[in-house]
């Protein structure tokens, strides 16, 4: 079979079998899967508010998906999107709160977004440089850095920056807020979906160009595929590792644009809700391809929000099972596909 066909077939097969298995689980829980999925579709694609909720989730998922995908092109596992997103969000909230209210919105948003990206990149680069300098496994480093990020943001929030008797920081300057679609175009009635969705999609396009159309991506993919050959070909694998991690971290950090600048307008304890980890699933389902990730993020956005809407019939935990099962199925099908190609 051809690699090209497999590329489409594997995610499709994984999706179909996920649906099959999740239907089975629902049936076992004495629920009618057709009814449940019907309700989910109705509550998401069928309503403008629901679509907005889905787009809102897609935006963050897309960014944390890219955070896993870009390092993955170098055969690096960035498990740290969660921590990178936390650092980015906290930074964006801090900077946003300090900005003078008279600042032009464009500048304020740019400044906060860049700061968030820088914070995320910095956090990922810590793991990257440990890898390059001392050969520390990036999986372990990024997992540990997740805990450290949680600790730091938690401490700073609780002891220094939380507004009295709340668990969040002071709100950002209104200039730094990214407007919702509702406000600008009237779409997605009242849903938190905001214009940062364009930022996320734009970044995905940009990274696709970087990876597959630029010389830089040619070198990066080569270094990921065959490090020994890359060295012979004059490519510095260490630099490539750092860049891939840095870009991944920056993408995760930009998640702050959606959840802080676009939605909450402050940093709140537990606001990321483990979405960084779902990013790994998003990336895997898309085969780490920056364009497919858009669709994959939308699918997970559907599961996340759709799952919430049918909460009364089927507990959210079932959807955790579905999401995780998708990852396992994708990995298994990919391995199987290798054997047959």
């Amino acid at each position: 079979m051809h690699a090209k066909q497999l590329r489409f077939l594997i995610p499709l097969l994984s999706l179909l079998s996920t649906l099959a298995v999740s239907s089975l689980i629902m049936a076992l829980a004495n629920r009618d899967p057709v009814m449940i999925f019907g309700k989910m579709i109705h509550a998401t694609f069928g309503s403008s508010y629901g679509t907005g909720q889905m787009v809102f989730r897609m935006t963050t998922l897309l960014l944390v998906g890219l955070a896993a995908a870009i390092p993955f092109q170098m055969r690096l596992f960035n498990i740290g999107a969660e921590g990178q997103l936390l650092m980015g969000s906290f930074t964006a909230a801090m900077i946003g709160a300090m900005l003078p209210p008279t600042m032009p919105p464009f500048l304020a948003i740019l400044l906060c977004s860049l700061a968030a990206m820088a914070a995320g990149a910095f956090w990922a680069l810590l793991a990257g440089s440990l890898k390059v300098q001392f050969g520390v496994n990036e999986v372990i480093a990024t997992i540990m850095l997740n805990f450290i990020a949680q600790g730091i943001t938690g401490y700073l929030l609780t002891y220094h920056f939380a507004l009295p008797s709340t668990v969040h920081t002071a709100p950002i300057a209104t200039a730094a807020a990214i407007p919702t679609f509702d406000k600008v175009t009237g779409w997605f009635a009242n849903a938190p979906a905001n214009l940062s969705a364009f930022l996320a999609i734009g970044l995905a396009l940009l990274l696709w160009i970087m990876l597959f159309q630029s010389r830089f991506g040619y070198e990066m993919r080569a270094a990921g595929s065959q490090p020994d050959a890359a060295r012979y070909g004059g490519i510095n694998a260490g630099v490539q590792t750092l860049t891939a991690m840095g870009i991944g971290g920056a993408a995760a950090g930009l998640g702050a644009a959606n959840i802080v600048l676009g939605y909450k307008h402050y940093y709140e304890a537990g606001m990321s809700d483990g979405i960084g980890f779902t990013g790994i699933a998003v990336a895997l389902l898309a085969g780490a391809h920056p364009l497919w990730i858009i669709l994959s993020a939308l699918f997970f956005g559907f599961l996340e929000y759709g799952g919430l809407t049918v909460n009364t019939w089927i507990p959210k935990d079932i959807f955790m099972i579905i999401e995780s099962m998708t990852i396992i199925l994708v990995i298994s099908f990919t391995a199987l596909g290798k054997r047959f190609s």
Binding site: Q213, S214, R215, Y218, A222, D228, Y232, G234
Partner: protein
């Protein structure tokens, strides 16, 4: 006589490309059956079908007259088929005996491994087939020839009756080749059937009972090994007469380009791989280094391309027109005007999952003429790729979409040769085993190109374990042994002795062992 393997009208297609077309062939029991043919003729594909790695698109395969349909090598192994791949499938950290029983531990989970019985087998087979190897040695410490013996022992341990060898001699030294042939004959004499793929026609004539010639996916002839000559075989393979030796007009060397002085190399484990080696290569000459693999050639080449691992201790100097090479990175060395074809090209010189075009670019992707914006100038690359493909006769169906991995072994080699021989503005060309794995037609082409490059004034450093090649091409010849140059033949000597061919080989042989 009984037939061990029979193919009836077997075809294999990859997409729309037919790699094997309507092949009918029988391999008789207890014979050595050689298969020869150009790069890309379909030899490996044919054997991979017998070994269950590819499923035939149509046609029938039978083993000992029983029709079979293997969907994996595991099934082929069960049917008594074994294959020695060119890239050995051994676990370097494990010992010889552990490697041999790997996957076939006939013991319960908590019972000890049958190490003793396996060792007894190794001793027995060593005697019967000349497969001498220390059962307790870790595989990492073995020479290539010894590793191959372990692969053969693995097959014997699995009771393989039909054994496939895909270019087993490409990486062996002449004396190891002789030993392998002793083993192959002994195996045949005990009734095993052997399929042997090779590009070295002398070997075919020396060892094969039957020879089949393949061309463009078809068998164009099968005959007894004793009834053909090398020239006839070559003609059948490529469809024209091949000059079996290249014409090498006298060289007029110029200035010294590469100068190596008192060069020594100590590995991180403290072994001295090269000691006080000195040589120089002039523009317009081919300086050949003859030697058995593992005598310091790899380390010398590594250093010249900036790839010596961290922690190695290097002393002495290596300069290109006075500028030091040691300590520079590969990219900068390329910019100095050096091009290098490394020995292990699949590992070092290509990205196998990249397309053919992308690989023709690899390592040269920093050249301005290939750039446009932040990306590549695709039309320019396409033109360049087409030119290289035509020039080096690289057999591929669609260079822009076909991955390098889908090329035949010899065509993968040609991609690297084409790319490195054509780097613009080079003053030094380093060639390690330049014709390994390519067919005789391609050897002729490549040898001519090397001579041509020399005539333009490029300095060429040629490292090869093929004495034929060293003698045919070199202006001067150095014999390397245990990391030093033991003897150097001057230009006059080489020109004089080249005619003597075989006698000269023997003389060189004395200096390298």
């Amino acid at each position: 006589m009984a037939v061990a393997v029979r193919l009836s009208a077997v075809s294999k297609k990859f997409g729309s490309f037919t790699a094997n077309n309507n092949i009918s062939l029988s391999v008789e029991e207890g014979t050595i059956h050689a298969i020869v043919g150009e790069n890309g003729a379909g030899k490996s594909t044919l054997t991979k079908m017998i070994y269950g790695m590819h499923l035939p698109t149509s046609g029938e395969l039978s083993i000992k007259e029983k029709a079979v349909r293997f969907t994996s090598p595991r099934e082929a192994i069960k049917a008594g088929i074994g294959m020695v791949h060119q890239h050995f499938m051994l676990v370097p950290e494990l010992s010889v005996v552990e490697n041999i029983i790997l996957g076939h531990e006939k013991s319960g989970l908590f019972r000890p491994l049958p190490l003793e019985s396996a060792k007894a087998l190794i001793r027995k087979e060593a005697e019967a087939y000349g497969l001498v190897v220390d059962p307790d040695a870790p595989v990492a410490s073995l020479s290539i020839g010894e590793q191959q013996r372990v692969e053969i022992l693995k097959l014997l341990f699995r009771h393989a009756e039909i054994m496939i060898f895909d270019e087993p001699t490409a990486v062996l030294t002449p004396s190891e080749i002789d030993r392998l042939f002793i083993t192959l004959r002994a195996l045949r004499d005990t009734g095993k059937s052997i399929i042997l793929i090779t590009h070295k026609l002398d070997e075919v004539l020396a060892v094969a009972d039957t020879v089949s010639v393949m061309r463009k996916g078809e068998i164009v002839g099968t005959m007894p090994g004793s009834s053909v000559t090398k020239e006839e075989l070559a003609h059948m393979m490529v469809g024209r007469s091949v000059l079996l030796s290249v014409s090498n007009p006298a060289a007029t060397p110029g200035e010294i380009v590469l100068a190596i002085n008192n060069f020594s190399y100590r590995t991180t484990r403290g072994e001295w791989k090269v000691q006080n080696l000195s040589l120089n290569v002039r523009g317009g000459e081919i300086y050949g280094i003859a030697g058995v693999e593992g005598n310091g050639q790899s380390e010398l080449l590594q250093t010249l391309w900036g790839l010596a691992p961290e922690g190695t201790i290097i002393s002495g100097t290596a300069t290109l027109k006075g500028e030091s090479i040691i300590g520079k990175r590969p990219g900068d060395i390329a910019l100095m005007g050096i091009s290098c074809i490394p020995e292990d090209r699949l590992r070092h010189a290509v990205i196998t999952e990249y397309t053919v075009s992308e690989n023709l670019l690899f390592g040269r992707h920093r050249e301005r003429s290939f750039h446009r914006g932040i990306g590549f100038n695709n039309p320019a690359i396409k033109r360049y790729a087409e030119e290289m493909i035509a020039d080096y006769d690289i057999r591929c169906s669609s260079p822009e979409s076909q991955s390098l991995a889908s090329l035949s072994g010899g065509n993968q080699q040609k991609v690297v040769l084409a790319r490195e021989m054509n780097r613009p503005g080079i003053t030094l060309l380093i060639l390690a085993q330049p014709t390994r794995g390519v067919d005789i037609g391609a050897i002729e082409t490549i040898h001519n190109k090397i001579i041509e490059a020399r005539r333009t004034g490029i300095a060429i450093l040629l490292v090869s374990s093929e004495l034929d090649e060293i003698i045919a091409l070199s202006t001067r010849i150095a014999c390397i042994y245990k990391g030093s140059i033991r003897h150097e033949f001057s230009q006059e000597e080489v020109e004089l002795k080249r005619e003597a061919g075989h006698k000269f080989q023997k003389e060189i042989g004395l200096h390298i062992t």
